[in-house]
Symmetry: C2
Subunit: 212 residues, 2 copies
DNA sequence: ATTATATTGTTCAACCATTCACAATTATTA
DNA sequence: TAATAATTGTGAATGGTTGAACAATATAAT
């Protein structure tokens, strides 16, 4: 892998899109794809795709295209999906429960091996194949299982506290759905997913329609 | 409102963040906030905030800051949240069920007034205060209720078909969680939310840690 | 009334990302 | 084998976003 220059976030966000579509192509038995065709499927320009990929090396064959299987493997290595990350989810309410049951995370290489909550009504239940553990046990489970990534789907009011617990237990990265900024040490990578931005954007565009 | 030049997506994505934090400030009884303090709370530079806001007008007071209540109202109007958009959700499975139960959408001005599914086990149930209707009835309900925004949380395999139905019924904007590109007429605004990008980004950054 | 302090709105410069154009390379056909 | 068609990788041009600096303005202090 090249990896000389710094890679922009925009590139990193597109890689999973390429990867998922390549998996579909692979399932469909398609061996070779051009940036043109891939771009058409995804709504991304072929130049963009080629430039993104050349950040990491020259994976295509001129005059031919990209070998689907090979490119898949390359992207897996770029993103680091071959590691089979272990994931823990704190807050098994509406959203946590949905995520715990989402099988596609598994196909991408993320194994959910810990579910945590404070509510006695949910503790002990089997959700998507994993038993919900008391949040007070989270520290132990994270260490014992070697969980590296934490997902926070608790109410915002306790999200910081839960993040602190995760960091103390040795978590390396956090995906948070709570609508606030988490304060964590520099070496922890936090990504915030904000599900209300999508609706707000739709509202904006419907309100301020381009005059066609 | 100014609205002369074109506003970039980046700006539109930050407005909801400002808005939600301003609501919190308002709840806390804080009347005036500077771009400096707001930026600190959100992890955004003060210059960025000022520049974003001046896309739409001059809402602050030099030497003082921004009046929280007034700015809230301005952002509401910019995003178009005063309209109380009506929302319908198709596919009341794991994720759809979570979204149907999410109260914060209401506070932002989105009212969920239609829930649709094909599964007889869920049809007829009350989810977050709304009865789940057969998808075959979606067209009628959308027209009768005047639903303008559709959320798609069905399996990917039927998402296009559901989107077509929504468009035919007169929906103006779609928020889709299905991992594929939807084909819709130009005048329909589609926003795709991809929940696997977050985890993939974390994987990338943990794998390719900056050498600190 | 004057000075000092705080903070916005705006201009300009720096940076980053995308698009364009094309040389380089591979496969295919005559 | 030579010519043709397809398609990648890349350097240059364009367009867009962010950052730094500062004039303009409001308040508070003297
Ligand atoms: N539901 C959605 O569709 C949605 C959408 C966007 C954002 N969110 C955000 O995701 C988070 C969860 O939302 P939700 O709708 O699932 O809420 P929820 O109330 O259904 O679930 C929260 C869960 O967290 C648990 N919890 C509370 N305190 C805890 C603690 N200290 N440790 C561990 N678990 C604890 C609760 O017992 C509950 O099971 C919130 O921050 C919300 O703002 C949710
Ligand atoms: N669960 C998650 O956390 C998660 C995360 C990311 C993306 N997604 C995406 O969201 C979508 C839903 O995921 P899920 O986990 O909730 O799946 P799910 O299987 O739990 O729910 C899907 C629901 O759609 C209904 N459905 C099927 N065909 C339908 C039709 N023609 N019309 C109306 N409803 C129909 C099903 O009866 C079911 O209730 C999928 O596309 C998935 O890829 C889910």
């Amino acid at each position: 892998m090249k990896q000389k220059k710094v890679i922009s976030d925009a590139v990193i966000e597109r890689l999973p899109l390429y990867y998922r579509d390549l998996l579909l192509l692979q399932d469909a038995g398609i061996d070779i794809i051009s940036s043109e065709k891939l771009g058409e499927r995804l709504g991304i320009t072929p130049e963009q795709i080629r430039k993104d990929l050349t950040c990491f090396g020259a994976f295509g064959k001129k005059g031919v295209g990209y070998y689907v299987g090979e490119l898949c493997q390359q992207i897996v290595e770029i993103i680091g999906l071959q590691q089979h990350w272990k994931v823990g989810i704190a807050g098994i309410g509406h959203l946590g429960w949905a995520l715990a049951n989402y099988k596609t995370f598994g196909r991408l290489g993320f194994r959910t091996t810990g579910l945590f909550d404070v509510d006695h009504r949910i503790i002990g239940q089997n959700v998507g194949g994993v038993i919900v553990t008391p949040i007070s046990e989270m520290d132990n489970v994270i260490r014992k299982e070697g969980i590296q990534i934490g997902i926070i789907t608790t109410p915002a009011s306790v999200a910081q506290q839960v993040a602190d617990q995760m960091v103390n237990a040795g978590i390396k990265g956090i995906l948070s759905f709570a609508p606030l900024r988490l304060n964590v040490p520099d070496h922890i990578f936090v990504f915030r997913e904000d599900l209300s931005i999508g609706l707000s954007r739709i509202s904006y565009y419907l309100t301020n329609k381009p005059e066609e």
